[in-house]
């Protein structure tokens, strides 16, 4: 279990992490979401005692990280794939870490095999691809067989097979009762793996909820309806007091009613339907809805379409302050 109480990190005037209080529980995958620059990596570094909070505290199983005896046996972390010495073989990199925490050296071979790097154990990570570096970092995180596993953007640079493997791994670790805390800016990825979500924006806690709850609360589901008789259907909807937006000719996006009710209404009033499909808001949409306001760097509207003189302007990034 990881507990944060009022954690704030300031670099000079800039507040990177702002009074964060949350608990990461064992036995489930907790997704840590936020736009780029939201303070995710800083928060994770503070959990590991690498960065010191300006105020507040982080406890790992009730103790500050620095007080843990043989910390790698309690917490395994992947912070960035480059946290290894490029000139020392993969095996030796892990051996050095194992020795420092009294971890049996047989674990080195085990974790290298587990992440699929056994054939390149003697190679130096200097020549590794981003994906291989990521696998080596995950191997390092698993080295001490820790009850807490922390992964910062673990699928970065992985191929589809690798992404699937990380997903399965995280679920298995959580299934074994471990605490799995994983950051990502890829919402779709989190939708597939996380059970619980912690969302931050500009260093502030925006949400701390279950995955389904998060989607339900932060977005609307809608039903897409297509009909050759849009006039008639529009009347039916307004008579029933259901709001809808009409997109293309004969296509409606209905938010006020489930698909069952719309189908029954259409049958009752003998309106032929060509399509009746419920559309669930993805986590992606929910995330954008929630963090849109707090994104530190947000892309502006496509400049070409707004340039009045028809000359495409350079793409711009607007920095939003609220």
């Amino acid at each position: 279990m990881i507990e944060l109480a009022g954690v704030t990190k300031r670099y000079g005037e800039k507040v990177v992490v702002d009074n964060l209080t949350f608990t990461v529980r064992a036995g489930c995958v907790t997704g840590f979401l936020g736009p780029n620059g939201a303070g995710k990596s800083t928060t994770m570094r503070m959990m590991l005692g690498l960065d010191r909070p300006t105020s507040g505290r982080v406890l790992i199983g009730g103790r500050p990280y620095a007080r843990l005896q043989e910390p790698l046996r309690h917490v395994g972390a992947l912070l960035d794939a480059k946290a290894m010495h490029g000139g020392r073989s993969a095996f030796q990199n892990l051996r050095c870490l194992a020795l420092s925490n009294g971890i049996p050296l047989t674990r080195v071979g085990e974790v290298l095999a587990e992440v699929g790097l056994a054939p390149v154990a003697k190679k130096r990570p200097k020549g590794f691809s981003l994906g291989m570096g990521q696998r080596l970092g995950i191997a390092a995180a698993l080295l001490g067989d820790p009850e807490i596993v922390m992964l910062d953007e673990p699928v970065n640079g992985l191929d589809p097979e690798g992404i699937h493997w990380v997903r399965t791994l995280m679920k298995r670790l959580a299934g074994e009762g471990r605490t799995v805390f994983v950051s990502s800016h890829l919402m779709s990825e989190m939708a597939l793996t996380a059970d619980h979500l912690i969302v931050i924006g500009r260093g502030r806690l925006l949400a701390d909820t279950g995955m389904q709850e998060f989607i339900d609360r932060n977005s609307r589901s809608s039903v897409r309806v297509r009909t050759p008789e849009p006039e008639k259907f529009r009347d039916v909807l307004s008579a029933a007091g259901i709001t809808a937006t009409e997109s293309a000719s004969g296509a409606f996006d209905v938010t006020g009613a489930p698909s069952e009710r719309l189908g029954e209404l259409a049958l009752e009033h003998r309106v032929p339907l060509h399509e009746l499909s419920p559309r669930h808001a993805s986590l992606e949409e929910a995330f954008i809805a929630l963090t849109g306001e707090s994104a530190e760097y947000r892309s502006g509207p496509p400049a070409a379409s707004t340039a009045p003189n028809g000359v495409p302007a350079a793409p711009q990034t607007t920095r939003t302050e609220s």
Binding site: P71, G86, R95, A140
Partner: protein, 255 residues
């Protein structure tokens, strides 16, 4: 196993599994011995050209240690890379996550690397002494002569302390490139120039490499206001300052 012992074993494994350790330490040995022997041979050949005063002040042991001026650069490189390797690769975050008590991490690393530097420094100074004396022929001295053993130990200790000093500086600067960029020109050029400028001379005597040179001399340099003991003290103060500075930076800053 207690944490400090585990940290020492880990640091020893780190030291012995990167190539830079072997080649910097070998370079320190080879350059010092080769250059020292060459200077000794040249001194032997041109001995008759020396003035009477210079002949009286001739220091055969010190002459054989001349190679240290170049060899120390490799020792500096060793010290810098031991620390800088952690920062340039990002390994430092893994290392500090594994050993969160920064004093334990730092002292283990320094202890292990200083030990290696001490062994290489001593081997180098004894080998260069005997090789240099062989090259000096009739003008050589023996290890048993007055103060010669002390000077040989001083030369080996000096190389070790330069490595430790560099480790402290590299920990303060947290970068191999920056540390090399500061230390190399400083000890290769700046101090050499300063000692030959009349006004700057008085201050330059107290720079670490000048203090170190005093440690390796049998015959005291009349221009320098202290002897070998004073040289050792000055050198130790420099090293202590660098190591302490490194510790304060490591303890205080985010990794």
């Amino acid at each position: 196993m207690s944490a400090p012992v585990a940290a020492l074993r880990s640091e020893w494994a780190k030291l012995t599994t990167v190539r830079s350790t072997a080649w910097t330490l070998f370079a320190a040995f080879a350059v010092t011995v080769a250059f020292g022997t060459l200077v000794s041979a040249l001194s032997n050949a041109r001995y008759d050209d020396l003035s009477r005063q210079d002949k009286l002040a001739f220091d055969p042991a010190g002459t054989s240690f001349t190679g240290g001026v170049l060899g120390q650069l490799a020792m500096i490189a060793f010290g810098v890379m031991v620390i800088g390797g952690e920062y340039s690769t990002g390994m430092i975050r893994s290392s500090l996550a594994a050993v969160p008590r920064r004093g334990v991490f730092y002292s283990s690393k320094l202890l292990v690397a200083s030990g290696a530097a001490l062994v290489v420094g001593m081997v180098t100074s004894f080998v260069t002494f005997f090789a240099g004396q062989a090259a000096l022929g009739a003008h050589s001295t023996t290890i048993g002569a007055h103060n010669v053993l002390r000077a040989t130990l001083g030369a080996g200790l000096y190389m070790t302390l330069m490595a430790v000093f560099s480790m402290g500086v590299a920990t303060m600067l947290r970068s191999s490139m920056l540390s090399m960029g500061v230390l190399m020109p400083f000890f290769f050029l700046v101090t050499q120039i300063l000692v030959s400028v009349p006004g700057a001379k008085k201050v330059a005597h107290y720079l670490p490499d000048q203090a170190g040179e005093a440690m390796a001399r049998v015959v005291r340099n009349p221009d320098v206001p202290y002897g070998p003991g004073g040289g050792l003290v000055i050198m130790l103060l420099w090293v202590a300052a660098a190591v302490l500075g490194g510790y304060l930076v490591l303890r205080g800053r985010d990794a």
